[in-house]
Symmetry: C2
Subunit: 204 residues, 2 copies
């Protein structure tokens, strides 16, 4: 059974747990501490030189880092995968958008405001306004899309929705207010109502 090297509170790791559950792939979880630097130690770096979670490790020793790549791999051949060439392009458009224009502000604000030790947060507090401005810009881009579309790619629920749900649904942890984004809030409810949905806190 593949092992998901993960941190439970990480939205990037949650995306993989959610996609695995909804695509019927059994995985084992191996947890790492948020603050103990265990993913930057030699044993971990030997598997993933980039020192990050999530990483999926297969029984034959192959490893796959990067939540977007793991979502793609796990979903191939399942209803979570985008169904045709254009839907694949749309899904990747939003998955790259999430990692470049959304996660670095919304997930990072959440990490520092909700999980970092207070003395570490003090070193970063001057960055909060920029995180909020750029994170709200990303939420605005999502709102524009969702005002006209039910889902992000191919007209149906897919890994693109999972990728964006990961940190959008808990954006309040980073000090974001979703009140100005009614289409985003309605979409969050649609995602949470999908069969097999699990909350971020659920483990096994």
């Amino acid at each position: 059974m593949p092992i998901l090297h993960q941190m439970q509170v990480s939205g990037n790791c949650y995306k993989v747990r959610l996609a695995a559950r909804q695509s019927g792939v059994a995985i084992t979880l191996r947890d790492y501490g948020l603050h103990d630097g265990s993913t930057r130690k030699p044993a971990y770096l030997a598997k993933n030189p980039n020192g990050r979670v999530p990483m999926l490790e297969f029984e034959d020793g192959r490893v796959l880092p990067e939540s977007g790549a793991i979502l793609w791999y796990l979903s191939e051949g399942t209803p979570l995968a985008p169904a045709d060439r254009w839907a694949r392009a749309e899904a990747l458009q939003w998955m790259f958008f999430e990692q470049y224009s959304h996660e670095p502000y919304i997930a990072v604000a959440r990490f520092w405001l909700a999980f970092a030790p207070p003395e570490a947060l003090q070193q970063k507090r001057h960055l909060v306004p920029e995180w909020h401005a750029k994170g709200n810009a990303a939420l605005g881009v999502m709102e524009t899309h969702l005002a006209k579309h039910e889902w992000f790619a191919g007209g149906r629920y897919s890994i693109a929705d999972i990728a964006l749900y990961g940190y959008t649904h808990c954006a309040a942890d980073g000090g974001f207010d979703l009140q100005p984004y009614p289409a985003v809030r309605a979409w969050l409810q649609r995602v949470a109502a999908e069969p097999g949905h699990i909350p971020l806190a659920e483990t096994w």
Copy 2:
């Protein structure tokens, strides 16, 4: 013929020009200024609310932003596409790595050091050490991979190599020294020797 909305000096746009050329797809270029804010004006935002280049616009009006999504779309069915499920996962792993752990430091350092007005650079100069530290970490991850592999995904030249070549080959513009990365330098030469390769400056 699809229109690539682009800036000529952008490595993200160069990736698309290179992949289009090597996959035999004819595209028209529409150029935007680096500093005139033209991709943040209403006419552009109506097509891409995220206000970025590259964006590929098709004759039927569909638009596709995000270089990684465009590379995926253009290469489907060509030898530039990763060939099987595992190669697709490897390619996306490196393409997401590039956008999250490489481009925000190596491309951003290049933009500010090589293309920004001097007075604007002054506002950012305190960030250069962090860009260099994190960019060098990304180059180290590439070096570790390339010390044992000729290419990034599926054992052959693909869009994953194009995605990483875009800003690695011009990293010196951002003050990076590639001397400590011999495997990266050898790979850059292999990429540049591929049939149909064009340099960043080439236009049509």
